[in-house]
């Protein structure tokens, strides 16, 4: 089955699946091969790795980017010109609440559907989409986040397209005597879609997708982004985290700009980890170790 690569949690994977493709969420910034997006000052390492990897993949039917950030918009433009893999740039509104804005998101989902059909995908009925949604919802309900069996200083993660639980960061945190009790990255609890409502015909599946994704997921790029802070406040209180680790890519303005406000808003030490790729550099390891040391001393 051909794959559709996507990066944003606001792209419903079940919609891709309903059209007969395998959804592949971008894993992180570790791809080092060349591609349409150059390795240049100001270019996000995640964008570069994600787009270049997708463009290099023999199994890629398409790449879906969103307008949530400038990097994705411009990177998508370059990829559209220099890459043979078809690219879809989905316009995700930054504001929330207005019916017209939600309608715009729904319109983009439908447009994505048409794009996938034009690629040779199946044209799903509303029933097919509901089924795919139900399957995805069921899968989410039954995949519980793993309970941390290790002891250690409880930490929360926050950030964008980074792998919170897996990889070197989690290992380093545990090695230094910490444990991750909250994953607020784009791959964690914060971007878990809302549970599906009991369906009552003739509900439009696209409206329900908008409710489950667009209305439900707090993001850093929405304006205002108060929902992100509301979510984080509640999640931190529930998790018992004693420190917050902000994971961001070096050129990501959206997350970087939140650092000062995060420090102000929560009575927790906030550690800034800036990534050039997925790997954890020695200096970032030192930062992680220093945070855990500081919290251990204060225990």
């Amino acid at each position: 089955m051909k794959r559709v690569f996507y990066a944003s949690p606001l792209v419903p994977s079940e919609l891709i699946r309903a059209h007969g493709f395998l959804p592949m969420m971008g894993a992180g910034g570790s791809f080092r091969g060349s591609g349409p997006v150059p390795d240049a000052a100001g270019v996000c390492a995640f964008l570069r790795a994600f787009v270049n990897e997708a463009c290099a993949s023999d199994e890629a039917a398409a790449v879906v980017l969103t307008t949530e950030c400038d990097q994705m918009r411009r990177g998508g433009e370059l990829a559209a010109v220099h890459c043979d893999v078809p690219l879809f740039l989905m316009d995700v509104p930054a504001t929330r609440g207005a019916p017209a804005v939600q309608a715009a998101y729904v319109g983009e989902l439908r447009r994505l559907g048409r794009f996938l059909v034009a690629l040779g995908g199946t044209r799903p009925s509303d029933e097919d989409i509901w089924d795919a949604m139900a399957e995805a919802d069921q899968s989410r309900r039954t995949s519980f986040p793993s309970v941390a069996l290790v002891e250690g200083v409880p930490l929360a993660l926050l950030g964008g397209h980074v792998s919170g639980r897996n990889g070197e960061l989690a290992a380093e945190i545990e090695r230094c005597g910490g444990r991750i009790v909250l994953d607020g990255t784009d791959r964690g609890a914060r971007t878990r879609p809302a549970p599906l409502r009991a369906r009552s015909a003739p509900d439009d599946p696209y409206d329900e997708l908008a409710r489950v994704y667009f209305d439900a997921l707090p993001t850093v790029c929405e304006r205002p982004n108060e929902r992100l802070y509301d979510w984080l406040r509640a999640a931190l209180a529930e998790s018992g985290a004693r420190g917050l680790v902000l994971l961001r890519y070096v050129w990501c303005d959206l997350w970087h700009a939140e650092l000062a406000e995060l420090e102000r808003a929560f009575d927790l030490p906030v550690l800034d980890i800036d990534l050039c790729g997925e790997e954890l550099s020695p200096r970032n390891r030192t930062r992680v170790q220093a945070l855990i040391e500081a919290l251990q001393v204060r225990t």
Binding site: A260, E263, P269, V270, L271, D272, D274, P282, R283, T286, R287, Q289, A290, L291, E293, A294, V297, R298
Partner: protein, 255 residues
Amino acid sequence: MFCIGVDAGSRAIKVLLIEVDSLAIVGRGVAGQGVAQAELASRLVDEVLERAGVALADVRRVVATGYGRDALDLAHTTVTEITCHARGVHHQLPGTRTVIDIGGQDSKVLRLEQGGAVRDFAVNDRCAAGTGRFLEVVASRLDADLGDLGRMAARARRPSAISSTCVVFAESEIVGLLAAHESVEDIVAGVQSAIAARIASMAGRRVVEPIVFTGGVALIPGMKEALESAMGRPLTVAGDPQMTGALGAALLAAS
């Protein structure tokens, strides 16, 4: 019994020997960094012990810190330089709430709790523009000694504006400024201001007084004044600022 703190920094290895009960410093040493860090550190420790008349067997514990800490097999434990600097400053100046450490190739701002524990910190460790390296480049380019920089900056009429965030490009800027007949005094003052501004930016609004300035750059004349001007607050320079990290490591070894 004695304890040792080793700070294996990017430019120099520092060793401090303290007596466990009194916490008195009985030996110290500094050596340049090199490729064979473990060997260099070991040799330096031997020299310090010999000068102090202390046998290795009387050393209860060795804690290593700094970028090279994990390479030192003589250490029983490694602790980050953030924790060690906080500990070292707190020992010298209890009540310190903010520590500014500017080393050869990195800089940090630490906020401490009342009891000296680290509350949070910010680190610039990927850009030399806010570090001692910048001053070395400038001194070299202007054919001056680091020790003369303070006197030169004090004679500045209008500090030059340095815009580069990269020391390599800033060096080109300095050439440009000289070509534009800006005085060396203004240039030095401009560089010191640029470093201070970056530290102030890193510190943001998290600064709580009293503030202590430590690290090798604290020894360079003019930098304290530049930082005070950028932050709008008074600073105290730690005693023996180059050794603060090693002191903290030794104290942690003794605790």
